[in-house]
């Protein structure tokens, strides 16, 4: 385990020198956190309770809102739309870090000396994966914490803030987020094994975001309605996908293949 942390520390020292990585890790979560806060604030300024009716909202929300008033339900509906933004953070950050981390090793030809040390492939891969996943999860949770704190000041009532701790949100932020980050790292490892340009690897690996964007727009269009059950299914599906992706990524990350085929 010590070797894994040695790799994680080195990765962070190295990748966080890159401005592109810093921008992605620091700026992206701030933007994606600021957007829902700003929208909530704008809906609050419109007037008091009663400006919205639950009849104005997609049918699923009536059931979801329970005892919330019209505006509170509208705010919760809006916030729920933007929950997917928080799920983009763990998808996008690992892709950037892992792409620079792995392709960087190829470019500087540092992989061979690294593989000549007594570390196992699993330790090496775990170190690289953790180095990409941890900042993503921290940024997601940090963004959510900022959002949950700031939401107190812009929602119409504490009952909306209380909904941020319901199973839907907890599952999305604390379970689906890390699983998405893992999927993202696996995708980055796979793409990086065939790429010699970190930006190209990053762009190709960003394909992992497409299903989430589909969900996002599907929800805005009223075609999909995110609820705790659906998010739980997402988590279960992601866990299975992660296992498959990880196995495939580890398969690509064989020492011999790295040394003889990675060009």
């Amino acid at each position: 385990m010590k070797a894994v942390w040695v790799i994680v520390r080195k990765e962070w020292r190295e990748v966080f020198r890159n401005r592109m990585v810093i921008f992605t890790v620091a700026f992206l979560p701030l933007v994606l956190t600021a957007i829902p806060i700003g929208i909530l604030a704008s809906t609050r300024g419109g007037g008091g309770a009663g400006d919205f009716s639950t009849m104005d909202l997609p049918s699923g929300f009536e059931r979801l809102c329970g005892g919330l008033t019209g505006t509170a339900c509208a705010q919760y509906a809006l916030v729920s739309q933007f929950m997917l933004l928080f799920m983009m953070i763990p998808l996008m950050i690992p892709v950037t870090i892992a792409s620079y981390s792995i392709v960087g090793e190829k470019i500087t030809r540092t992989l061979e000396p690294l593989l000549a040390t007594p570390i196992s492939t699993l330790q090496l891969l775990s170190g690289k994966a953790l180095a990409a996943v941890l900042p993503a999860v921290a940024a997601t949770w940090g963004g959510f914490a900022i959002f949950a704190f700031a939401a107190r000041f812009v929602v119409v009532g504490p009952e909306v803030v209380a909904r941020l701790a319901d199973p839907l949100w907890l599952l999305a932020i604390f379970v689906v987020g890390p699983l998405l980050a893992l999927a993202s790292v696996s995708a980055a490892v796979m793409v990086s094994s065939r790429s010699t340009d970190p930006r190209a690897a990053e762009q190709v690996a960003m394909v992992v975001i497409v299903p989430l964007l589909g969900l996002f727009f599907g929800q805005i269009a009223g075609l999909i309605f995110l609820n705790a059950r659906l998010v739980a299914w997402m988590a279960a599906g992601l866990a299975v996908i992660d296992i498959g992706l990880l196995a495939f990524a580890v398969g690509l990350f064989q020492r011999e293949a790295i040394l003889t085929r990675w060009r």
Binding site: K2, A3, V6, I7, K10, R13, E14, R17, T108, R109, T110, L111, E112, P113, L114, L115, A116, T117, P118, I119, S120, R255, E256, L259, T260
Partner: protein, 306 residues
């Protein structure tokens, strides 16, 4: 310390290393010479447990290849073909990273020792990316030695270094031998191999020759005496050819080049014969074939087997 038996590696249809059988003793500097693409780096990678052989076997530092490669890698140091440093990290951070990966108990002390030894201590906080080629190579050498390995594989250690830095690295390699480490040295610098190596193996997919540089010279070219004469006459060469221990006589630029067995014993007879034939002998010396001659002879012979 290193023993290989019919070690072979194929990449698809390409035969990179063909039945390499070699034994390197503890404390020996073994020179591994061969042209680009001969399979030297593949051999090092196999011996370092980085890639597996297609067939054959090897034992390095007491570890059988493929059985416990993690222990093997702990016991060896590898200087790869390219320095492979983390450019964004300082010299010290580069070395500390590797020292920690090797699980060293006092990584800082070892890092300081090698940085001082190689003259990089004053620049330890500077990013490796700002270093000259020579400094980078020295840093890579330090990385290969940090964990005090029993066997060190050096792939082109003086490649691209200025004469002063190359000299420092050669001294360093000689120092490693004094410490009893076994060194497997790949180099294109034949003068370096001649000066440093106890034995050399000339390699091109398979081993073409294996012995000490001096023995290889003897085997391939015999021993040749150079005799400087005041004036050369055809009768002198004929007189030398008449001796049964003389293999070959050539006349070059007013000198006789005589190839013979055991010059220490036979030279007096040879000189007496030449003087009796009327030659005025000015100087007598031995023609030293360079390792380059040996190398080119062997490699070209392999290229043109006919």
């Amino acid at each position: 310390m290193i023993q290989t038996e019919n070690l072979t590696r194929r990449f698809g249809d390409i035969l990179a290393v063909d039945r390499l059988t070699v034994s390197v003793a503890p404390g020996e500097i073994f020179g591994f010479l061969g042209p680009n693409g001969a399979g030297k780096t593949t051999t090092i990678r196999m011996l370092a447990g980085l890639i597996g052989p297609s067939s054959g076997q090897a034992t390095v530092a007491g570890c059988r290849l493929g059985r416990d490669d993690t222990t093997l890698r702990r016991r060896i140091g590898v200087l790869t073909e390219t320095p492979g440093l983390y450019d964004g990290l300082s010299a010290q951070a580069n070395l500390l990273f590797f020292a920690e990966l090797y699980g060293m108990t006092e990584p800082s002390a070892a890092v300081e020792h090698y940085l001082r030894w190689l003259g990089l201590w004053e620049r330890r906080f500077e990013p490796a990316g700002t270093f000259s080629k020579g400094m980078r190579q020295k840093l890579a050498i330090a990385r290969a030695l940090l964990h005090e390995p029993q066997v060190v594989f050096l792939d082109e250690p003086t490649s691209g270094l200025d004469p002063e830095a190359a000299h420092l690295v050669r001294d360093f390699i000689a120092e490693l031998r004094r410490e009893g480490r076994t060194i497997f040295l790949c180099t294109h610098n034949l003068d370096e191999a001649d000066r440093l190596c106890d034995r050399i193996g000339v390699f091109r997919q398979s081993l073409l020759a294996l012995d000490s540089p001096a023995a290889l010279r003897r085997q391939l070219f015999g021993r040749t005496v150079v005799i400087h004469l005041r004036a050369v006459a055809p009768t002198f060469a004929a007189a030398a050819r008449g001796l049964d221990f003389v293999h070959q006589v050539k006349e070059v630029d007013g000198k006789l080049l005589v190839t013979l067995d055991d010059p220490e014993v036979r030279n007096p007879d040879l000189i007496r014969t030449l003087v009796a034939a009327g030659a005025d002998v000015q100087f007598v010396g031995e023609l030293r074939q360079t390792l380059e001659d040996v190398y080119l002879h062997l490699v070209n012979a392999k290229e043109k087997p006919a």
